[in-house]
């Protein structure tokens, strides 16, 4: 249990005082992973920095080219926000599969990303959307590709005190499909997941991106399959694409499913996605 929780309302205040706090400090947003980590005995930090009410982190806004989604935006908000529905519909679609309503009301998109889980539904959608992540360290920003700093389960390449400020999704008129296999109909963790964003021009696929969850140490993109599908008729390309996507992954057998099953599901999902277009 941390000795205390320090709450912030602005980034300015945060950067002003953060260095003075004990060095075993950790950010707290929704807490739906952090509190569990604590009760499992895995969190030993002495202070938590509550960033869930920093205004900048709760923003969802647009400019000419992009939309910005703050890291402390609650998962439940993604479902109905008009900007997200219009420009990042994969994120809206993931919500109904995402944990339980009570978790969705507490958990944040930034936390889903920071936890670096291979089965993260929000990250699966962000990856297919080719989102970028905006990081902030002592008021200095850098913007990187969403998957570039995710190194494996619970492993993310952030510098000390570096804060996930939000996500940038470019405004593209793409459609999306979100599919998730879990052990029961709702409130489950993905055995495998697939998210696909694409355009359809005169019956041909364009600008395809496909992300997969729970089949590798982190959420991954199926780049060879994406390349193959470019310019193809979706139903005609189905057989080859399903074969290709299986070659791109080598999932593990663990407590939630088997390697073989995950392979099969990814290919069934891709086939069903392509059939539905």
């Amino acid at each position: 249990m941390p000795e205390y929780i320090e709450k912030y309302y602005t980034l300015k205040d945060l950067w002003k005082s953060v260095k003075k706090l004990p060095s075993d400090r950790k950010y707290l947003a929704g807490g739906t992973d952090l509190v569990i980590s604590l009760s499992c005995g895995n969190d030993k930090s002495s202070v938590w920095l509550d960033i869930s009410d920093i205004d900048r982190l709760k923003e969802i806004k647009e400019d000419g080219k992009n939309i910005f989604i703050g890291a402390a935006v609650k998962i439940s908000e993604l479902e109905s926000n008009p900007l997200i529905k219009k420009w990042a519909s994969a994120l809206s679609e993931c919500v109904k599969y995402y944990a339980s309503p009570s978790i969705r009301n507490t958990a944040t998109l930034g936390g889903n990303y920071a936890n670096a889980s291979p089965c993260a539904d929000g990250v699966l959608a962000l990856a297919a959307l080719r989102a970028k992540v905006m990081l902030n360290l002592y008021d200095k920003r850098r913007v990187v590709d969403i998957l570039s700093i995710v190194k494996g389960p619970k492993k993310i390449d952030l510098k000390k005190d570096e804060l996930i400020e939000g996500f940038i999704v470019s405004k593209e008129e793409r459609k999306s499909i979100f599919m998730k296999m879990m052990h029961r109909k709702r409130f489950g963790i993905a055995k495998a997941g697939l998210c696909m964003c694409y355009k359809l021009e005169k019956g041909k696929l364009r600008d395809v991106s496909i992300s997969l969850s729970s089949v590798a140490p982190s959420v991954v993109r199926a780049k060879k399959t994406e390349e193959y599908l470019e310019g193809k008729n979706p139903s005609k390309a189905q057989t080859k694409a399903c074969q290709l996507i299986r070659e791109e992954i080598s999932p593990l057998t663990d407590i939630r499913s088997t390697s073989d099953y995950r392979m099969r599901i990814v290919s069934v999902f891709l086939s069903r996605a392509l059939c539905s277009i």
């Binding site: 249990m1 052990h183 029961r184 109909k185 407590i255 939630r256 099953y261």
Partner: protein, 756 residues
């Protein structure tokens, strides 16, 4: 209007405990606070099997608020927990036999200090070889961890000559079946508080189904006589069998700590330790053969049934006995040979779980009966109807069913309601859909296996103002016992429901009434209440008749009032008059189950006094590309005698079906190298409301003449037949025969692959 003369029996009376529970006003074990209370936390075995060298709390002593460690040396009584056998020590002395077994306890002023201290108490140990597979444990040259053969107990049931008869059959099927654990997942984890009183006695508050088991265990552990211990059951947040035996262990640990530090001690488990160390449904293995003649008449049944008991025997012997007695299924078969064994392994000890050893063998047996019908080329329901037990028929143990056997009607009800005749698989895209069937029977009460415990007491005390306090020895654990027993008391006394109060059990107020298990509470405590109420009723009715000046003519009693011509008096008015006449207004009731004639030597005789019955049709859809199984609808029919409360009976149906579905499809506890890998709700997946099927539940009330208002027992029957009904539906839908549970999508898909 068959029940028109009953005021409360057969009526959908609202639960008497509903309002308090819904409003959060019920006090559960961990809500109670006592002055000076401290907290205990278990120090657990880190490996599957160890020799304990030394326990040191050197580092823990630095924790503020730490009071000390408790080991077996602090046990003032006997270090053997009295369950069926006495092989489980309260705290191990030299050897701990399963991962996460409590080895010692840390006690501290606060819960967090106790947790911290427990994590700092060091067990020095030598790791010992262990065994985690029950079939390997049965091999001749296996490591021996219990007796000469690793067998806790075994039973044989023999009728006719099944081996010989099987050879002469025209159709024979044989199959091997496996089922996994099931975790009770009650909302409230194990919780006990032991409070030393000023006079040297001890009060124990326990979340339990069996307060008298707690009494026996605390008495053994502390060395205090029974009359210096009072066990009070706290409002209990779910049991399902998981609060039958183990609460006695938890409460004993709290009591040992309380005696040592002379302070009230709370011991409340978190979910992880509850998963890892508390009772479960036994994993099972079974090899079953059935044989029939060319006309489809069942001739022989051979069963080899093995339960994985875990490290200590706990309830395994009696769980096994119930499974063995019912192993041949509810059919008329002349030749039966059943062998059953409960085996020791170095894993968490298994015990009671709704169905008590029957669901496992029923899964095997009802699956195989279905396969036999296929082989003969008969409709599975027609085949069963041809062989089903009827009144005057004999069960596998040679028990003649003399009354209240409605299974044939149940089968016909679900057949008709599900439009079974049209059971041809349908298919839309990758989804195939079909119906599957199963039927079961369930011996109500403890039967011959627990005959010495099968009695119950009740104390009924009517106060001057007409309010009535009823004390019973069986518990409410969420199943509705308080409501049903209140209905029985109100009906018998012609009081109103509001007059009656029954609360959680206090062992100092009623005699030992046995455990609250085996669907026996309505039957046993109900009969005890009726017996206590009978003389009171006589006094009340005579007084009422006097007050109404009936001069020997018949008056009418209904709903807490007595009527004669245009006059009426209320129950409370009559009670005031009774007190005025100095009549005795309190009585004890004592009900003893009728004798059973079962012989252990050959497994023949009357095993139970009466049976409840069920039939299920599962309407199931299988996605043949993903292996996902969706249960669309369950048609179920039950014969549980008279329904005391039809609304609660429906609810028992819903809960039992969903729990049966969970075991059949979702719940998959994984133990690898003796260590549990998913002791949590993230990875131990329970079905939730979105997975629930549509329920179509019917009842056939075959009255049982010795039951309270002719009721039998309800709690367990709805769960037992669900898994095989689903399995048989999957088989019908996509030809995949799955002989193991849970039937996860991975397994279903693999089997579909084999069929194509």
């Amino acid at each position: 209007m068959k029940n028109k003369f009953f005021s409360f029996i057969g009526k959908p009376v609202e639960r008497v405990d509903a309002t308090a529970k819904v409003r959060g006003e019920a006090f559960y074990g961990d809500d109670l606070i006592f002055p000076g209370m401290v907290y205990a936390r278990a120090v657990r075995n880190p490996r599957p099997r160890i020799e304990i060298k030394k326990i040191s709390d050197k580092k823990a002593r630095e924790i503020t608020g730490y009071l000390g460690v408790v080991t077996y040396k602090d046990i003032k009584g006997v270090n053997a927990w009295p369950v069926v056998m006495k092989d489980y020590p309260f705290l191990p002395e030299k050897e701990a036999r399963f991962h996460s077994e409590t080895v010692a306890l840390a006690v501290a002023e606060t819960l967090s200090a106790a947790k911290k201290a427990a994590s700092l108490i060091e067990i020095s140990y030598k790791e010992l070889p262990f065994i985690d597979d029950p079939l390997k444990a049965l091999e001749k040259n296996s490591l021996k961890i219990y007796g000469k053969d690793n067998i806790f107990s075994s039973y044989t049931i023999k009728k006719g000559n099944a081996i010989k008869a099987l050879k002469e059959c025209d159709f024979v099927v044989e199959g091997e079946f496996k089922t996994n654990y099931q975790v009770h997942c009650y909302l409230e984890t194990q919780t006990a508080t032991a409070v030393p009183e000023k006079d040297g006695s001890l009060t124990v508050y326990s979340s339990t189904q069996c307060p008298f088991y707690v009494l026996d265990a605390v008495s053994a552990a502390t060395g205090l006589p029974n009359n210096r211990i009072k066990v009070i059951q706290t409002v209990t947040g779910g049991g399902f069998g998981g609060k039958e035996d183990v609460p006695a262990l938890v409460a004993s640990h709290a009591a040992i700590c309380a005696m040592k530090f002379e302070r009230p001690v709370r011991l409340a488990y978190d979910r992880k330790e509850d998963f890892m160390s508390m009772s479960k449904r036994h994993p099972s293995w079974a090899k079953v053969s059935y044989g029939a003649d060319k006309n489809g008449k069942l001739k022989a049944c051979v069963v080899d049934y093995v339960l994985d008991g875990g490290a200590y025997s706990t309830l395994s012997p009696i769980v096994l006995w119930r499974g063995a007695v019912h192993a041949a299924g509810p059919y008329k078969i002349e030749n039966v040979f059943i062998e059953a064994k409960a085996v020791a392994t170095n894993k968490v000890p298994c015990g009671a779980y709704r169905g008590f050893g029957q669901p496992q063998i029923c899964f095997a047996q009802e699956s195989l009966i279905d396969d036999l019908a296929d082989k003969i080329g008969m409709d599975p329901i027609e085949f069963r109807l041809k062989n089903i037990l009827k009144t005057k028929d004999e069960t596998a143990t040679g028990q003649k069913l003399d009354s209240s056997c409605g299974i044939k009607e149940l089968i016909e009800i679900v057949r008709d309601r599900s439009k079974w005749i049209k059971n041809t698989p349908t298919s839309i895209g990758d989804k195939k859909r079909a119906l599957g069937f199963s039927c079961t029977y369930y011996g109500v009460g403890l039967g011959a296996g627990g005959r010495y415990l099968d009695r119950a007491g009740a104390f009924v005390n009517i106060y001057k103002d007409g309010s009535v306090k009823v004390d019973v020895g069986n518990t409410e654990m969420g199943q509705g016992a308080l409501t049903v027993l209140s209905q029985i008391a109100a009906e018998t006394l012609n009081a109103s429901m509001e007059n009656i109060r029954i609360s959680e059990v206090d062992t100092s107020k009623v005699p030992d009434s046995g455990p609250t298990v085996a669907s026996r509470t309505t039957l046993m405590s109900g009969n005890a209440i009726i017996e206590a109420c009978a003389p009171l009723r006589e006094r009340i009715f005579l007084t009422a008749a006097d007050m109404l000046k009936t001069s020997g003519q018949k008056m009418f009693a209904y709903g807490g009032y007595f009527y004669f011509k245009d006059r009426k008096v209320s129950f409370s008015e009559v009670i005031r008059e009774c007190w005025g006449r100095r009549l005795k207004m309190s009585e004890q009731g004592w009900y003893v189950a009728p004798k059973t004639s079962f012989q252990k030597e050959n497994g023949q005789g009357d095993a139970y006094v009466i049976y409840s019955y069920s039939a299920d049709v599962a309407d199931v859809e299988v996605d043949v590309k993903t292996g996902e199984v969706q249960v669309k609808k369950i048609y179920a029919a039950y014969d549980v005698g008279r329904l005391i409360n039809p609304k609660l009976a429906q609810a028992q149906g819903h809960g039992g079906i969903l729990q049966g579905m969970g075991w059949a499809l979702y719940e998959n506890l994984v133990i690898k190298n003796g260590i549990m890998l998913n002791p949590n709700f993230t990875d131990y997946v329970l079905p939730i409301s979105t997975d629930a099927p549509e329920y179509d539940i019917s009842f056939k009330e075959k009255l049982y003449k010795y039951g309270p208002y002719k009721a039998k027992g309800m709690g367990e029957v709805p769960l037992i037949g669900v898994a095989p009904a689903i399995r048989n539906a999957i088989k019908k839908a996509c030809k995949a025969k799955i002989n193991s549970a849970p039937m996860t999508p991975e397994i279903v898909l693999e089997k579909i692959g084999e069929e194509i």
